[in-house]
């Protein structure tokens, strides 16, 4: 076995250990933690916060937002859409990647019409969106043997193989 393979194996082993720890935590976790585990919680929360920050400026300009020639309504549109996407990310976690990409796009565009919530909204939106893009669910199967200890297996969807923990 050459060093490259060893490194890959080590990395996989580490990943596996991490998964085992998380899975063990999940089994003893309360309802809120289990709920958070099944969706991109921090990504969605940061997205929601970014939307509120982006809405800050246009909300204070509501008097002129819909006046002819005013562009403040664009800030309303971008901020509102980011808030909606943040909320949807809680409800439909399976679309988190799409929500993340759209959040990043809208957060950057919100510089027009809303100054990106003093840029802070844009930065928060990019981070929230990236967390949504990076989030995914992994199915972990736990075997309970006679000694009461748990053995973990992770199914690799694309390869169709099963990696057993040491």
């Amino acid at each position: 076995m050459n060093s490259k393979e060893e490194r890959i194996q080590k990395r996989e082993q580490k990943e596996q250990e991490k998964l085992e720890k998380r899975q063990a935590k999940m089994q003893d976790a309360g309802r809120l933690k289990r709920w958070r585990n099944r969706r991109p919680f921090w990504g969605a929360t940061l997205t929601l916060l970014a939307g509120i920050m982006i809405l800050y400026i246009p909300l204070h300009l509501y008097a002129i937002a819909f006046a002819p020639g005013s562009w403040a309504f664009i800030g309303f549109l971008f901020g509102g859409l980011v808030v909606i996407i943040g909320s949807l990310a809680y409800i439909y976690p399976q679309f988190s990647t799409v929500f993340g990409v759209v959040t990043i796009f809208l957060s950057i565009l919100s510089i027009m019409g809303a100054l990106g919530g003093f840029i802070i909204g844009t930065v928060t939106g990019i981070i929230g969106g990236a967390l949504c893009v990076g989030w995914h669910m992994e199915e972990v199967s736990a075997d309970k043997d006679h000694g009461g200890e748990k053995k973990m297996k992770r199914a690799k969807k694309d390869e169709g193989t099963v990696t057993a923990s040491p």
Binding site: L19, R22, Q23, M26, Q27, R36, N37, R38, R39, P40, G43, Y56, I57, P58, L59, H60, L61, I64, G69, S70, W71, A72, I74, G75, P93, G100, V101, I104, F105, S107, I108, L109, I111, M112, G113, L115, F118, I119, T122, I126, I127, G129, A130, L131, V133, G134, W135, H136, M137, E138, E139, V140, S141, A142, D143, K144, D145
Partner: protein, 195 residues
Amino acid sequence: MQEETVAVGRTAKKKFWTAIAAGFLAFGAMVAVFGMNMTAVAMPLGGMGDFYVELDELQGEDFHLAPHIGETGEEDEAPMVRNEIGSVDITNLHIYKDLRMPGTENWIRINITSPNVSIDGLIQDARLIDADLDFDSLAIEQSNTDEFTENWTQNAETITITDAKIVTDYLFQSAVSLEGAEISVEEIDEPEMTE
């Protein structure tokens, strides 16, 4: 042997950092495009309390000044003046706003600077204007009307403002072009206050 499947939600670091990098790259590109093409569409600022506008020189056409009642950081209704200028060219513009960081005692100042600015359709509500002013064809008019914004007005074909510091509460531009704009944030000890 009993087997149960548990779904574990996790964040893939590689995807996360790729998305962050792409996001900030796009953000940087957009700011750079603003800088090169000098175009920002309709920049509204207002409703968040006083902010300060400093400039070396402003040359404007089609100037109109009227009394106005508006919201400041401390009051819902404060007396101020509303300046409306059809087209404006500004040299060395500096807009800054002091904000307290939520949940802390620390203050930050957000600075927007640009050496050359041109604006179409400027509306500005100011509480204090400290500047040298020059007008062409200035007309000060009074009208017998109950509408207080039309009681007393100043109109001029052109206006030149130099070395100005303006305490502003509302700013709106139909189209603004900020050449070489820079946006920066700095920590400050305490905010600038104007009574």
